[in-house]
Every structure is written in structure tokens, then in C-alpha cells.
């Protein structure tokens, strides 16, 4: 058995969740190879080769891989799959887009978004927005598995020295053309990996009011999240959305402000270590998952919260 991990990167460097996926891959079998597909990816390949859990790195470079199009990626991975028992990658939008295309070509039923490796063929995964956990055994000869990155710790990033092997590119898929990517740049920590997340919901009432959230986040060195209701109302851009159809976050501290706690929002944050809910509706479902609930008008509570934080001598960052 050998596991093939599909690395997620931006051509220059690995995206952080590749390290979490590598941990999961190494729990399936200790023999893990990784493939980096892109254009001018020498640095990312080198970084991958330094992960101690990776035994070999495969590098596939071509101009048509520069933008990570699934239609271009799938054929080369399907060809490589001959030598592997498992194909794995992160269950973020990159892996969600790509893996089923590979699985269908291999005539394999994919196991999506696993949160635990039980054995090399059996996995735990959330269903119904995390309201139930299913234990799934795959009877396919080759297994395609996507990994919920926040459920696995990142692997060690130094000390390895896996060989890097070049692999031939496959042909370009001509019916899909990349136009542009608009990445939202921010000085704040990334939502998916931040130690603290401060999120606002419909209770914020306007986009302007989100500056209350921003101030708290700046003070705590936190990422900013939002409920789908806040995103749909146009208070904040969609890359901040936490929930079943947004991002899943597992920070040490999650502060939900003016969020009622719809099932689909809870799916994205209820595994957080400590949850704070600030809401004026004492019956709001968010309180059922909160370690500390404050029933209060957020427009009074948040400025007070800022004052209290300012009184502290030190704040962990």
C-alpha cells in the first residue's frame, strides 16, 4: 500500500492545510508519496520533500497547470494512480473540485471530508452538517479520500529529505479556460487556521457595524468570520463565511456576535475549543454550544468588551 497525497500550493509555496492532509495520509499508511502539480513549483516541491512523513515527491510542471484546473489535473493523477492504493487531498474547495473527477475516472466511490482514519479502509466523516457521524468502509480497490484539514494536526515541516522525481505532464483540456482569481488579501490570520475567530451575524444590522468586530479582532489578533445571513445581507464578503457551505473552523476561541446559531452555521464552528456567544435573544440556539454565553445587546456589550480588553496587561496572540 502506498498513499498519494495531492499537494495544495500556490505554485510558490505549499498551502498550510497540505500539512494537515499529510498527517491524515500518514495515518492511512506510513508509505506516503506526494505530487505537486503546477508551473514553476520547484520551491513548493522542495518544501514538500522536507516533510518527514513524505517518502517521495512527484513533480509535474506545465503552463496549463498554473491555475489548478481540475480538468487538467485529473488525467495526470489518474495515470499516477496505477501505483497507489489511496489518493488523498484536503477537503477544501481545491480538493472538493478535483477529487470526484479523479474518483469517477477510476470508477471509485469517494469518501469525502473525513475527520478520522480508523483503518486503511475505514473512516469517520460528518453527515447532515455534522449532526451525525458516519463510519464508512470502502470496498473499492483504490480509495479516493478527502480530508477535513482542521480535524488533523499539521505534520512536522522540516527534517525530511525525500527525493523529487519529475513526471510527464498530460495534455491540456481545451474547453476550460482560467480567466482570473480575486484573492482577498488581509493582514489578519487566515480564517481556517486562526487561533481566535470573531464572527458577526445578522444581528450586526449593517456592514458598517462590522467595524465593531474588526476592532475586537485586531485587539485579539483574530480572524473575522460571519454567518451566512450576514454574508447574504451584504454586510461582509463571502470568504468570511463559516458553516456547512462555508469554512469549517476549529480555533481555540470562537466569539459569535449577533449570530443566532442556525444548524448550518454550527456545522462550521461547534468543534472550536472555547465558544463565546453574545446575543440579546436568550433562547438563541447558539447558546446551546457556547461555553460562555452573554445575553446582551451587542451594541452595548462589544464596546464594553473592548474596554475590558484594554484593561488587561497582556493578551495572548
Amino acid at each position: 500500500m502506498t498513499v498519494l497525497l495531492i499537494a495544495e500550493h500556490n505554485n510558490k509555496e505549499l498551502r498550510p492545510f497540505t500539512l494537515n492532509a499529510a498527517t491524515a495520509a500518514s495515518q492511512i499508511d506510513s508509505d506516503v508519496h506526494a505530487v505537486v502539480i503546477g508551473q514553476n513549483t520547484a520551491d513548493a516541491a522542495k518544501q514538500l520533500s522536507e516533510l518527514p512523513v513524505i517518502k517521495k515527491v512527484l513533480s509535474v510542471e506545465a503552463a496549463h497547470y498554473e491555475n489548478f484546473t481540475a480538468e487538467n489535473f485529473a488525467p495526470v493523477i489518474v495515470k499516477l494512480a496505477e501505483n497507489y492504493s489511496h489518493i488523498v487531498c484536503s477537503a477544501n474547495t481545491f480538493g472538493k473540485n478535483l477529487m470526484p473527477r479523479i474518483a469517477a475516472h477510476l470508477d471509485t466511490s469517494q469518501v469525502s471530508d473525513i475527520i478520522k482514519v480508523i483503518s486503511s479502509d475505514t473512516f469517520l466523516r460528518p453527515i447532515y452538517a455534522g449532526n451525525a457521524f458516519a463510519t464508512i468502509k470502502s470496498n473499492d480497490a483504490k480509495k479516493c479520500v478527502t480530508i477535513r484539514p482542521t480535524s488533523f494536526d499539521p505534520c512536522e515541516s522540516t527534517g525530511g529529505s525525500a527525493p523529487i522525481e519529475k513526471v510527464d505532464a498530460s495534455e491540456e483540456f481545451s474547453n476550460t479556460k482560467f480567466i482570473k482569481r480575486e484573492e482577498i488579501k488581509s493582514d489578519r490570520p487566515e480564517l481556517g487556521t486562526a487561533r481566535i475567530v470573531v464572527s458577526g451575524g445578522r444581528g450586526m444590522q449593517s456592514g458598517d457595524n462590522f467595524k465593531l468586530i474588526t476592532e475586537i479582532a485586531d485587539k485579539l489578533g483574530a480572524a473575522i468570520g460571519a454567518s451566512r445571513a450576514a454574508v447574504d445581507a451584504g454586510y461582509i464578503s463571502n470568504d468570511h463565511q463559516v458553516g456547512q457551505t462555508g469554512k469549517v473552523v476549529v480555533p481555540d476561541l470562537y466569539i459569535a456576535v449577533g449570530i443566532s446559531g442556525a444548524i448550518q452555521h454550527l456545522a462550521g464552528m461547534k468543534e472550536s475549543k472555547v465558544i463565546v456567544a453574545i446575543n440579546k435573544d436568550g433562547e438563541a440556539p447558539i447558546f446551546s454550544v457556547a461555553d460562555y454565553g452573554l445575553e446582551a445587546d451587542l451594541f452595548e456589550a462589544i464596546p464594553q468588551f473592548m474596554e475590558e480588553l484594554n484593561k488587561l496587561n497582556t493578551i495572548q496572540k
Binding site: 477544501n92 470496498n139 474547453n175 482569481r181 451566512r228 447574504d232 454565553g293 452573554l294
Partner: protein, 249 residues
Amino acid sequence: MKILVAVKRVIDYNVQIRVKEDGTGVVTDNVKMSTNPPDDNAIEEAVKIKEAGKATEVVAVTVGEDKAQETVRKALAVGADRGIHVKVDGILEPLAVSKILQKIVVKEKPDLVFMGKQAIDDDCNQTGQMLSALLNWPQATFASKIDIKDNKLEVTREIDEGLETIEINVPAIVTCDLRLNEPRYASLPNIMKAKKKPIEEIAASDLGVDMSPRLEQLKVEEPPKRKAGIKVANVAELVQKLKNEAKVI
């Protein structure tokens, strides 16, 4: 341009699901069912494209038990022209569903296939991508904006880093994000009219596809419960607890 839209019947998104005591699944008896929410966005988009004069026909298809036909009927009530119900008992894996849809695509020859990006029951997020692999068509997943330009589509996709725009040639698959549009409600007259629209019934077993399960669901269980939290009286107490008890700030 002809658009095929795939819809799935799932437990309604507002229902708090319950796990069966014997661990074989979740309770579905006497539970409110409805169309998978992003599938509603897929239907809405197809109907809007037709209303804009850029599509000639919208066909809604579902794969499922007898009652799954309700989702097709609902699609007809909001503007789809006709329906197809591929009948099958029990739960199919996305791979089998995509093989069935492939057969329907070969038969119907649509230019576009729309569906929701993910079903909210199994949360697999696979069927659209698998179908496009089987057809070797382009795929635009997690679509939040679709512009039709002759035989091309410019699609904005919701990705973790922000937004991505791609151009795909028809025929193509698009999986729809909730942000794509605001699905309309069916009016009573349209619900009545929909009852007269045709729904073709096809037995999945007649399509000659391999539907055998590859996965075994060994157990379904409740997730670990969080221990009950406390209500704090004021902000000062909250900050003190976070600092000294939880030690997170």
C-alpha cells in the same frame, strides 16, 4: 440551448435530525422533506436563463424513490418545462447517481447540466464533478455568477481564497452555490399548472448502469456532545473567565 437540472429530495434544512437508536442511519419517517437547497438555486438559474430568451427548454431530473417526484413537481411549479424521474429504492452513492445522469444526458442531449454544489444530507459534494468526468465535459463548481456568451459560459466560482472566474465551452456542468440567486416561490396557479406538465418515469434498473454499493456504512452515531456552558452576567465576568478560566486570551 437546453438545460437539464438535477434535483435531490433531502430532509428539510430546518429539521434537527435524529440518529436512529440502532445506529443504521437517521430517522426519516414523518420528517419534513424538501428539495436540496442549492438545487433550488440551480432550477432558478435555469428558469431565469430561459426567461431571458437564452434557453429553449428546462428539464428537471431526479433519481430516487417514489416520493422524490415531489422535487421534480416543485421544479415544474417554478418554471421547468418537463420532468424525468429515475426510480430507484434505497440510497445510491454519488458515483452511481452520476452514471445514471450520464445515461439521461446521452438521451436528452442537453447543452448544460445544472445541480446544487452539495447535498445537505450526505454532504458528499461529488455528483456534478463525477458526471463531468464521465462525460469529459468542463465543470464549473460552486458557481455564484453565470454569464452566457454564445456557446461559452463565464462562471464566477466561490473558492476558499476568494473568487475565481473561468470560461467554459458548452456542453458543460455547473454546480450552484447558494449565492447564485434567490429562488422564487411557486405561486398557487403555477402549482396547479405544474400538475399538468409531463414527468417521464424511468426505472433505474432499465438503464444498465452499475449501481452496486462500494461503500459500507458501518455505523451512524451522534457526535460527541459539548458539555453545557454557563451564562455570564456581564462583559467583565466574560473577559475574566476567558483570561483566567479558559486561558485563551
